[in-house]
């Protein structure tokens, strides 16, 4: 497969006559595609940015310095930070298991990892409630041990990890598949234990892909709305995250603040996209 691609690559250069004919027909397609993406994505995002800065820079920063907004951002960082750490550890473990080992149920595990992508965030919230609320399956157990999960940060972390579950694993699995296990075996034959092998061989090879996965997961964790809404109770000044505050702002006609916080989250998303593009370019170069 790989070799056939190499052999046929030169064929990509089409004759100039063909190219001209194609481009005449292609201009129509190009226009439609560019117009579609511009109207669907660029124009609305542009309008949001204008709306956010319209009230003036002073008002913009006042909206963000509001104690409620400050607290919401703080909760967001804490929940997203813990969730990303869990995502990373879990993602690496799952990726190594799926790529390097054979065991019964391996395909099932692989399918299960992707399941959260296809589950509605609201259903995620409901599912966790049914198990971890005081009247849920494990409610009595957690309650008697003094662990509060629902309407508190542990539940919000669970919900956030659920929705971002496959991102890290899916980013590093292709790299692990490509590098194979020869180096790992060589190190093992020389007496390196599993931990040393992971630290000295596996981690350096997956470093770039891992960074990409972590960026994706972080963006997802910061922005989660539906699942966190259900599980956190959306208690203002306690369990309210920045996305939840935006939702409230638009329902209580505090639109200026809503637009200001949304603008900050847009900036974070742009930073994530640029970081992702940079990492991918490095990945391509190192290949």
């Amino acid at each position: 497969m790989a070799e056939s691609v190499v052999l046929h690559k030169p064929g990509v250069q089409s004759s100039s006559a063909q190219r001209e004919r194609a481009s005449a027909a292609g201009i129509g397609l190009r226009t439609v595609a560019l117009a579609y993406v511009t109207l669907l994505v660029l124009v609305p995002v542009g309008v949001l940015v204008v709306r956010a800065v319209q009230p003036g820079i002073g008002a913009f920063f006042d909206s963000l310095n509001d104690p409620m907004a400050q607290h919401a951002f703080q909760v967001t960082w804490i929940v997203a930070g813990i969730s990303v750490v869990i995502d990373t550890v879990f993602g690496i473990a799952v990726a190594i298991l799926l790529v390097r080992y054979r065991f019964p149920g391996r395909r099932l595990l692989s399918a299960l990892i992707d399941l959260p992508i296809a589950v509605s965030p609201i259903v995620v919230g409901l599912a966790l409630m049914l198990v971890y609320s005081p009247t849920g399956w494990f409610g009595p157990f957690t309650e008697s041990n003094g662990i509060v999960i629902i309407n508190a940060k542990p539940g919000m972390v669970l919900a956030t990890v659920f929705v971002s579950l496959p991102l890290v694993a899916r980013a590093i699995i292709p790299v692990l598949e490509q590098v194979g296990t020869e180096q790992d075996y060589a190190a093992a034959s020389l007496g390196a234990n599993a931990f040393t092998r992971f630290l000295r061989i596996t981690l350096p090879t997956i470093r770039v892909a891992l960074a990409y996965g972590v960026v994706l997961a972080l963006a997802r964790c910061i922005g989660e709305y539906g699942a966190v809404l259900v599980i956190s109770g959306n208690i203002s000044g306690q369990t309210q995250t920045a996305p939840l505050l935006i939702g409230d702002d638009f329902q209580t006609f505090e639109r200026d603040q809503g637009y200001a916080i949304a603008f900050v989250l847009v900036l974070i998303a742009f930073a994530a996209i640029l970081a992702g593009a940079y990492i991918r370019r490095r990945q391509r170069r190192s290949n």
């Binding site: 993406v37 309008v47 390097r100 709305y225």
Partner: protein, 291 residues
């Protein structure tokens, strides 16, 4: 591992990085001490986080048997919400199959100046929090928006869904188009086939599995979407009330009956997602067999 070093380096030089699924590890060692323990931890964590909670939803939905489940999902408000949600998701998937393929085509084959920046724009809907996607839609199409007023309309929901699902088809079709062998296309063109014919008879059959899997992902995402719709939809029963909003509404009510109804609606969404995932897996296996 059956992958030899030679194959790996050939793969690297051919830049087949975009389609990693094609070369799966065909063998591997059995589990040992450390890996066995980590498999145990992974399975326990997945059970506590994903499996048991989802089982709890299905269990709750059927808590009072099949009649309870059936009456919950066939009440007129719920049935309309489910029909609207599934119907919109199907249309969104179809539009994405066409527009996503077109955008991917332009990105790969046409490659206009500024295509790099264009690609970054495609990623925006993925990176934006869903509620911000909702704010973005509202800023343009809200009641005091710049554009036409789509507040509380199905069109408004539809536009928001197209926004959040834009990258799915583009990102699944793009790598396949990049990898496509163009000799057959050129042969067909040299024999007098028109561009549309070449596309329909040669390109389309090869990218069809990727288009289908992108459309399936869009469908699954649209089915469960909440954050980007909550601001624009205004939840009018029988008109703009979607399934996720209805579930959330039922959870705000107290009482076991409304929780059971919420679980029943959630179960319908889960089953629809599961069907889509299984179809997707079948498609991907077909691709793997061909590759």
């Amino acid at each position: 591992m059956t992958t030899t070093l030679g194959e790996v380096s050939a793969g690297k030089s051919a830049d087949t990085f975009a389609t990693p699924g094609r070369r799966r590890a065909a063998g591997g060692p059995r589990l040992g001490g450390v890996s066995g323990t980590s498999l145990g931890v992974v399975v326990i964590w997945l059970s506590l986080l994903v499996l048991l909670p989802l089982a709890a939803v299905v269990g709750k939905a059927f808590g009072s048997g099949w009649p309870g489940f059936w009456s919950a999902i066939t009440s007129s408000t719920t049935a309309d919400a489910l029909k609207l949600t599934i119907g919109l998701s199907v249309v969104v998937a179809l539009v994405n199959a066409v527009m996503g393929t077109l955008v991917a085509w332009v990105l790969v084959r046409d490659r206009p100046r500024g295509a790099g920046a264009f690609e970054l724009v495609i990623d925006i809907p993925f990176a934006l929090p869903t509620i911000v996607a909702g704010v973005v839609t509202l800023a343009l199409y809200g009641s005091d928006g710049v554009g036409p007023n789509l507040f509380g309309t199905r069109t408004g929901i539809f536009v928001a869904l197209l926004f959040v699902t834009l990258p799915f088809t583009v990102r699944t079709v793009q790598p396949v188009l990049l990898d496509l062998d163009r000799d057959a296309e050129q042969a067909a063109a040299s024999l007098g086939a028109s561009s549309p014919t070449v596309f329909r008879r040669i390109v389309l059959p090869q990218i069809a599995p990727a288009v289908a899997s992108g459309a399936a992902l869009s469908f699954a995402r649209a089915l469960g979407e909440y954050g980007s719709l909550v601001l624009i939809s205004s939840n009018i029963p029988h008109h703009t009330l979607i399934a996720s909003s209805l579930i959330y509404g039922k959870l705000q009510e107290t009482g076991d009956r409304s929780t059971q109804e919420a679980a029943a609606i959630a179960t319908v969404l889960l089953v629809a997602s599961a069907v889509v995932l299984v179809l997707l897996d079948l498609i991907q296996r077909r691709i793997a067999r061909r590759g």
